[in-house]
Amino acid sequence: MKASRVLQIVPLKFRPTDDGALLFADDAGGYFKADQDFLERYVDDSLTQSDHRFLDVNGHAFDGVGDLAYSGFEYRFASRLYSPAELDYVILVPTLRCNLSCGYCQVSRVNETTPGFDWNGETLQAVLRFLGGLSTKRIKIEFQGGEPLLRLDVIRHVQAFCRSKFDHCEFVICTNLQEVSPEAWAVLEEPHVFTSTSLDADRATHQAQRTKNAQKTSSFFDNFDAAVNRLGPNKISALPTINPTNPPPATAVIDTFVGYGIRSIYLRPVNHQGFARKRFDARSSASSWNRYHSSFIDALIDFNWDADAPLEEYYFTHCLRRVLRSGHNHHADLRNPNIIGYSYVVIDHDGKFYPTDEARMVSRVGQFDLSMGDVFSGIDRDKIDMLNSEALNNFHPDCVHCPYQAFCGVDLVDDLSRYGRIDLPKHLTDFCQRHTYIFDKIFSLIYSEDPKVGKSLAIWSGAPRFDSSFAKVHR
């Protein structure tokens, strides 16, 4: 029977799933599963009363523009759009020098003794003048490199300046923890100072990928042990960089992190930038990465089933929450529109501004110049704004058909870095392949009836239990 009430149905996009059904989703991130018959009724405009009732209750329909269902949909849609806040996060690269030479170094480092890759006094003063001109009351400063602990003097200058200028300061020091002087420990132990380092799965992998010899490996692990003990697991994060063509077993990564009491693991594939693109075949690594990541998530689910303290993979949790929630826009890697160069900037060793760390690397290897002025003459966003005007997936001819569009984002710097252009068909890009996989995985778990899966999804979604109503099937 055809519906009598005149409901307006919002546009639905769909994608076949492994179980033979179709996943439907709308522009505000509402979703459900249905079958081919429903699709045909939807296309033929012959939806039944029962179809309408379902679409109404599930938030895909409205009676009239401006009614509560319509406004609620608008609210969810609008909250999924990222709007940059005022500039309150600055990444500083006081030196490119480093005391390690990792095979996949993402940032084109130079040797520890190479002159000419450090801030000089004028650069420091210009950076402080720039920070002094910000209107925010809260600042987050991240020190990267090179190895920023080689410039502890700069770190201390910047800290002192920020503490006198802003109401609240947070400092993140991204260090390889290879050599930590007593003075450096004192800085890392200060309140509102956080340490971020790399820990590649286990001792063997870390040595193979980073430290190269047993002595350096021991120095790192000694320092890492000390950091966990002295700073506590809440003040330290450790990122494992994974080579997808030769990944460590998931259990090795899990055991290492559990051993240190670190419950959030942020797996990173080797980044196809800087020197990495010269050494690794990273142009087409998405499928091997996806396979590994999927098996890692399965291993976490097994682990969490009877663990006292559960684990998460940070980015997977983020993507799961982006499926379930609107307004979950805090991660710079997954935003739509992905407006860069506004809420945070990078200042390189030579005082140049970049919108992101990746843009700095693309520029460093000479592909494109994505700098946006420097600390001496000020920010110039002309070029970046051209890129920003394309950084939207809502109207992209490939993305408009994808049910994951509302959850996903864009990364044009990544496209430029890999392909030298931003107009490749999306499904051929690494970004699209990785995110299509991750949302496929998320939906396969949401619709799973395995109680082990349910337990992990509850933990990762932040709720006591994962409710069965998130796996709606309309028949």
Binding site: G59, G66, A69, R76, S461, A463, R465
Partner: protein, 362 residues
């Protein structure tokens, strides 16, 4: 129990009078202040514009900074503001256009307009106070209410309001005023009992209430207002809680918080107790699922007026102490309970013989 009325010696007044009681002169002295002269047992004598004003209170109770409303010919004063409490509420009218089965303050026919006095009282409140506004239905007197809100907002930008309304009377053109008042200043407490219009209308005793509520909530959303959505759990809507959670997820993503509330055994709540009270200590499942749903959606849910021992362990973190100090009591077995410090206890008028079955110290 804390007194919300204080005995006074009647004053020779013809208009309602607002008085702030002070133990000593303060810097921001106003024409409404009365300064203490003498305390003798429960009798306190104040100086007010050269006259003597006598208030009776328990000897150790502080009245410093309290604001009283004295009505002509009455021997007791309304204690509008207790300076050391976070639970100060103005009852601006007793008229209402709904007749809810759980109403704790059943409506009356006549309205006595005290908005001018209440505006003065608010202006005398301690710094950064939150003032509750309740009824009846405050928005039945929408123009007077907005006048008061604008007047107080201008003179006391530090004050905030928590206003309980059935949201039946917002019009789209009110959005501008709501924006002007600012979304940080007012938290609107709005009840929704079911996502099924018929069930909601039946519970609030008004046909078409659900449809009006939808329009009101849309206006609040467009104005960027802060809303605390309130759902009292009842036998009548227990099976609808998940529907409400999904309604919130699809339509009401803008709300600040969803308050899932236990029934207060007073007014119609007492009259309808047997047919309405839902013993959530015996069966919590629908409330648990409702919390699961909105939490995963990134929204905040709270359990109001639930004794902690009535809530399964995994959900106790959602049950803050919410029963106002002057309405609260504890039972015998609470003495041995390790959670008493963080538990809101019971309403004074809760009757354990007809209440929760599955309680005990935790």
């Amino acid at each position: 129990m804390i007194d919300l009325r204080l005995k006074v010696d009647p004053l020779p007044i013809v208009e309602p009078l607002v008085v702030r009681l002070l133990d000593q002169p303060v810097d921001n002295r106003t024409e409404h202040d009365a300064i203490i002269l003498d305390i003798d047992g429960d009798r306190r004598e104040y100086e007010y514009h050269g006259f003597s004003f006598t208030v009776y209170a328990r000897p150790h109770e502080s009245l410093d900074g309290d604001v009283l409303l004295v009505l002509p010919g009455q021997a007791s004063a309304h204690r509008l503001i207790r300076a050391n409490s976070n639970h100060n509420t103005f009852l601006v009218t007793e008229q209402c256009d709904q007749l809810c089965v759980m109403c704790s303050q059943p409506p009356k026919k006549y309205h006595f307009d005290l908005f001018d006095q209440l505006a003065i009282a608010a202006s005398l409140a301690p710094r950064d106070a939150v003032i509750g506004i309740s009824g009846g239905e405050p928005l039945l007197h929408k123009e007077r209410l907005f006048q008061m809100l604008f007047a107080v907002s201008a003179s006391r930008p530090d004050l905030r309001f928590h206003i309980l309304t059935n949201a039946q009377h917002f019009e789209p053109q009110d959005a501008e005023r709501l924006v002007a008042l600012g979304s940080d200043r007012i938290l609107w407490g709005v009840p929704l009992y079911s996502a099924n219009p018929k069930t909601h209308d039946r519970i609030v005793g008004k046909e078409g209430a659900f449809a009006s509520l939808e329009r009101g909530l849309a206006t609040l959303m467009r104005a960027g207002a802060s809303v605390e959505l309130r759902t009292v759990v009842l036998q009548q809507n227990w099976e609808d809680l998940i529907g409400v959670a999904e309604f919130i997820a699809t339509r009401l993503g803008f709300i600040s918080v969803w308050a899932i509330m236990q029934l207060e055994r007073i007014g119609y709540g007492r009259m309808n107790w047997a047919s309405s009270f839902k013993d959530t200590s015996a069966d919590f499942e629908q409330a648990a699922r409702a919390i699961d749903i909105v939490t995963a959606r990134g929204l905040k849910a709270w359990l109001y007026n639930f004794p902690l021992c009535s809530v399964p362990q995994d959900y106790r973190g959602y049950a803050p102490s919410t029963i106002s100090d002057w309405k609260r009591k504890y039972l015998d077995f609470c003495d041995g309970c390790g959670a008493r410090e963080t538990c809101g206890g019971f309403f004074q008028w809760y009757d354990h013989k007809e209440g929760f079955n599955g309680l005990g110290p935790i």
